[in-house]
């Protein structure tokens, strides 16, 4: 569904992504794991059109999308849940949900109910300003907002960042649920353990290069991954 080949992106004058290639098959969960500064966020931002690419191609559903402005890329069916949630603090919860469907002209009632079913907490707080929500609730809102564009592919940038373990588990349950309902997911995480358990396939990113790839289960068993990302000593 999404084919990245030889993608190169510069970030602040340095080459943050040095020619990586990977694919995200339809209806799968694919994860990129890696340390801080490995180029994970930059990759997602490049796919979303927020940063220009230096080389390579990004193909989505058989069409080139590299070079399109962000608002066009949303229209093709890709959406990004940005790092740090970035809900609009001065808009109400309901407005945040509605603005996710900004490009749509049809009736939103069913989809709003869908989001409320996934996150009943948001329904209770629909009239509250998003800035007053807790971190976990803001993450739910960010995901709900992204769903409102009826995406075929959701990219999530560190959904577990700064959240309590219990809430993180809840968010991951929802991610799997959304995937079950037919949405493809590209997930980046520092919490490698959690991400690999959820994912069908994973790639390990190190300083701008992909160094390993395999199914979630394979990577969880890989000695190098264990040592570097799962905090277990090599035997």
């Amino acid at each position: 569904m999404l084919n990245i080949s030889n993608l190169k992106v510069n970030y602040g004058g340095i080459e943050a992504v040095k020619g990586i290639s990977f694919t995200v098959p339809e209806k799968s969960i694919v994860t990129l794991i890696g340390a801080n500064g490995a180029g994970k966020s930059t990759t997602l931002r490049a796919i979303a059109g927020l940063v220009p690419i230096k080389g390579g191609t990004i193909e989505f559903l058989g069409k080139q999308i590299s070079g399109l402005p962000s608002e066009k890329i949303v229209g093709t069916g890709i959406t990004l849940v940005p790092e740090g949630r970035r809900v609009f603090p001065d808009l109400t919860v309901l407005e945040n949900i509605k603005i996710g469907a900004y490009l749509r002209k049809d009736d939103l009632t069913d989809d709003i109910n869908w989001v409320y079913d996934l996150f009943p907490r948001l329904k209770e707080r629909s009239w509250q300003l998003a800035g007053t929500l807790s971190g976990g609730e803001q993450q739910m809102l960010a995901v709900g907002r992204a769903l409102m564009s009826r995406p075929k592919l959701i990219m999530m940038d560190e959904p577990s960042l700064g959240l309590a373990p219990l809430i993180v588990q809840g968010i991951f349950d929802i991610i799997k649920e959304i995937n079950r309902q037919g949405v493809t997911i590209l997930l980046i995480e520092q919490n490698a353990n959690l991400a690999l358990r959820a994912a069908d396939y994973g790639y390990v990113l190190e300083t701008g290069n992909i160094t390993l790839d395999g199914t979630g289960a394979e990577l969880l068993e890989n000695e190098d991954v264990k040592a570097a990302y799962l905090g277990k000593k090599k035997k």
Binding site: A48, G49, L50, P69, S70, E71, V74, G75, T79, L80, P82, R86, F88, P89, D90, L91, E95, K98, I99, G100, Y102, L103, L129, G131, T132, L133, S134, G135, Q138, R145, S149
Partner: protein, 293 residues
């Protein structure tokens, strides 16, 4: 001073305040979305004055007024596209300097094209009709200005609170990047802001100059600065704040003149700015932050 005289001056002050409020909204909205003090706004207001002179020379007022509003909107949007848009990613100081440049450009362009000799502002007969309420008497424009101001502000608030464009404006004013991820075209929303600001400046200009009789290339400077103060006083970024600021300054200024301190009426405005910045830099209705860290 008798009560009637005081009321009479209050009425004049409210009317002046209404015109100030309309201009101040332009400052506050552009600041809200671009974090830019649009120093050219006062000069856009001045140019709207000249547009009216030329429009009225060939058309009746019913045609001239819409024409002036449209002309001012086009000018505002073009200024944004040419002088501010290319600096979107530049440091904020650069775009501010560009705004100062546009301000001088407009003043000098007006001087070059229309000379610095004051030009008589055309009379719109029905606006000049004198009305009496009890012992008070004033021209229709004096009564009309505050009413029109309030109506336009209510309309604007509804637009911002209830419509999709308004929602997008509030989103863009907080976060460009995430707004783009929602599919919002940032540049269109910024243009919409300039459309509204310029349209209100045009209306404000008609109401203001109808009472002033003449326009010079520098007619926009002082009112522009005062309206900027009004916006800061009310809390820049806040529309109700700008309206309250506009009325406060308009009324205070008129009353000072009435009491015989006309020399100090402008000084008062800037004193107000200093006091406000010292004791409450965010202004009356300054941005309250709901961000949770």
């Amino acid at each position: 001073m008798s009560l009637t005289t005081i009321l009479q001056h209050c009425l004049t002050g409210i009317s002046l305040g209404g015109a100030y409020a309309l201009i101040a909204i332009g400052y506050t909205m552009v600041y809200g979305i671009l974090r830019l003090i649009n120093f050219a706004h006062g000069d856009i207001f001045m140019m709207a004055g000249y547009f009216m002179i030329f429009a009225m020379a060939s058309f009746p007022w019913q045609v001239a007024i819409p024409l002036v509003i449209v002309g001012t909107i086009v000018m505002g949007v073009v200024i944004e596209r040419v002088a501010y848009k290319p600096l979107r990613t530049a440091p904020r100081m650069s775009i501010m300097i560009s705004a100062i440049g546009v301000s001088y450009l407009l003043q000098n362009l007006a001087t070059y094209l229309f000379t610095a000799i004051p030009r008589g502002y055309p009379e719109i007969p029905f606006l000049k009709k004198i009305f009496h309420i009890g012992a008070l008497s004033a021209s229709l424009v004096t009564f009309l200005t505050p009413v029109l101001t309030i109506l336009l502000v209510i309309f604007l608030m509804l637009l911002i609170k209830k419509t999709k464009v308004g929602m997008a404006m509030r989103a863009v004013s907080k976060d460009f990047e995430t707004s783009q991820l929602m599919g919002i075209k940032i540049n269109n929303i910024i243009s919409a802001t300039f459309v509204i600001g310029s349209a209100l400046a045009a209306v404000g200009s008609i109401l203001y100059f109808t009472d002033r009789m003449s326009v010079t290339p520098f007619s926009g400077t002082l009112p522009g600065l005062k309206c900027f103060v009004a916006a800061v006083f009310g809390g820049i970024g806040s529309i109700p704040g700008a309206v309250v600021g506009g009325f406060v300054i308009g009324i205070a200024e008129t009353l000072l003149v009435a009491m015989g301190y006309s020399t100090f009426s402008d000084a008062f405005t800037f004193l107000l700015l200093i006091v406000m910045l010292l004791f409450r830099p965010t202004g009356l209705f300054g941005e309250k932050s709901t961000d949770k860290v």
